[in-house]
Symmetry: C2
Subunit: 189 residues, 2 copies
């Protein structure tokens, strides 16, 4: 529809509600109240309720890609540093944009076909970053196993962090990233 700052803020607030209540249980009246407007006014900013969901997921995925991209550009070239940078970046998006990621994981199926196809491309672009870095680590002998399986395994472990990782807890994203990839690597020395 458009890209106004107002819409961005509304999207952020919608994400919070979608996490708290789930997409289907979140009514347009609840969304409107959270946003401080009446339910009818919502449809000035979004075509329908589905479009709000798509906007939430799109914002989250773009954020993840941007952070991962930055991390890869500023880190060392060796495979371990690149793995570490990707893992840390992933945990950092959970910190800065947790709601959107939870929504993406749990409410993906509620997207209509068109939005799903569009967003699948974005998500694939993010996973491609991971797969490239995993390929390098495999080639360097840093980790071992089947390419496809390592990638699923790592994505699973990382996505699962939304269930238990507390950014305010004992471990920083940087520390946690180190421990996670250390687990996969052959013992040093």
């Amino acid at each position: 529809m458009n890209d106004s700052p107002r819409r961005k803020e509304l999207t952020r607030q919608a994400a919070r509600l979608f996490v708290r209540e789930g997409f289907d249980r979140t009514t347009v009246r609840m969304l409107a109240e959270e946003m401080g407007i009446k339910s009818g006014s919502l449809f000035h900013h979004f075509r329908d309720k589905q479009e709000i969901l798509a906007a939430v997921i799109e914002a989250g995925t773009r954020n993840a890609i941007a952070i991962a991209h930055d991390a890869l550009e500023t880190c060392d070239r060796d495979p371990e540093a690149r793995l570490h940078a990707m893992a840390r970046a992933h945990l950092e998006t959970l910190l800065t944009d947790r709601n959107a990621h939870v929504v993406a994981l749990y409410e993906w199926r509620r997207l209509d076909d068109e939005a799903r196809a569009h967003l699948a491309h974005l998500r694939d672009a993010y996973e491609a970053l991971w797969e490239a870095v995993i390929d390098e680590a495999l080639a360097a002998g840093l980790i071992h196993g089947d390419r496809f399986l390592v990638s699923r395994f790592v994505m699973g472990a990382l996505n699962w962090t939304v269930r238990w990782y507390d950014p305010a807890g004992a471990r920083s994203p940087d520390e946690l990233a180190g421990e996670l990839i250390g687990m996969l690597m052959a013992p040093r020395g």
Copy 2:
């Protein structure tokens, strides 16, 4: 409410619908039609819609615990065999009871407080099996890393398999289990 065979069968069918449509989008009329009865009759078997969800998740978790228990009792005593047995058992419940597990993962938040507390105990019992086996493997030096993190990492990777693992595909649960734990272990030889 009760434990009749009829109710068990209805629970199984409800699980399929919950996976296909999601809990909130599945209406009592859809459930009834799938079961070959009228919507009013549903409430003879279940107090309300929430209770159907709880029944689905409870059945799935009990199945997972039973299979894991059997696997541990019939396998060798060494830590690698026990890790392998647990991973294979997990993938086998995905094969025999996939719908219930998908529902447990995606619709957990839709449970009311009472059911959630009850089922959390069951789920903890399952995870405790895993944690014991992981502890043994750590103590034996088979894998390395922080106890808490290894356990979350492994649970994440395994639960994520519902998104991509195709039991009819190229890899049997046994093979896949081997590859997954091989990834975590220090290279042999």
